[in-house]
């Protein structure tokens, strides 16, 4: 699938990234992700995935509550609205604030994983020391990032990411 001119303009900042490019952006546009549940973290993940062009199929709860209650997927990006006939590549949901429970679970293709043990304030996983995002932003962004990495074919193995008090650790 060739990128349209409006897509090249809209996603130019992503296409610039070495790991993305035109081929990677096409993969993001092809990776339909279903989203279930409702939480602040999920809102963040939906916003980041939608704006990056990933088509989303969201549950009624996601549409009814959170920030999507005040906007639409189409407002994030026309490409964020998944056609009902598209094959689903990934799933994102089951967010919980419990100490031991995962804050985000995802499945993309045959791979699956979880993000667990995120405390209230932790450094950004991409080594950005000035950023101290609150838990929902951290968990939601990390979930979106991991789904995107899977969609880009950067990592195809099951993964669990834990915050050990100092840094992100993969199990």
């Amino acid at each position: 699938m060739a990128l349209r001119e409006d897509q090249i303009q809209r996603y130019s900042r992503q296409i610039l990234l070495k790991e993305v490019g035109g081929r990677g952006q096409t993969r993001l546009l092809d990776a339909v992700v279903t989203v279930e549940g409702q939480s602040q973290a999920l809102d963040v993940a939906v916003a980041e995935l939608g704006a990056s062009g990933t088509p989303l199929i969201v549950s009624a709860a996601v549409e009814r509550t959170g920030f999507l209650a005040g906007t639409t997927l189409e407002a994030l990006s026309p490409d964020a609205v998944a056609a009902p006939t598209r094959a689903v590549a990934g799933w994102l949901g089951s967010f919980s604030r419990g100490a031991a429970a995962p804050v985000a679970c995802f499945r993309v293709g045959v791979s699956a994983g979880a993000i667990v043990g995120v405390p209230a304030h932790v450094p950004w996983p991409e080594h950005e020391p000035s950023a101290q995002p609150a838990e929902p932003v951290t968990a939601g962004s990390l979930a979106a990032l991991i789904v995107q990495r899977f969609a880009l074919g950067l990592d195809a193995s099951p993964v669990t990411v834990r915050w050990d008090g100092h840094r992100w650790q993969r199990d």
Binding site: L3, I8, Q9, S12, R13, I15, L16, K18, G21, G22, R23
Partner: protein, 77 residues
């Protein structure tokens, strides 16, 4: 080995590299892309961007009309 060309003299950063990057993706390893560019910013950025992504900058020539011709060889597989 094939040779392609692209004129980005009407583009501004960052679209200059976006256009070149997308064109490079259509080529095979060892192919060359001739880029016609204008202005200091792409002149500074494009050779560096190409090298950062592993490509070889074959030549960089200022032309009489004020534009610059950059030739990039696509990295080997």
């Amino acid at each position: 080995m094939s040779h392609a060309s692209i004129d980005i003299t009407r583009e501004v950063c960052p679209m200059t590299w976006v256009r070149v990057k997308l064109r490079l993706e259509t080529l095979e390893p060892g192919d060359t892309l001739e880029v016609l560019l204008k202005g200091d910013e792409p002149l500074r950025n494009l050779p560096r961007n190409a090298r950062d992504e592993g490509h070889h900058v074959r030549s960089l020539d200022r032309l009489d009309d004020g534009t610059t011709r950059l030739v990039i060889e696509l990295r080997s597989a």
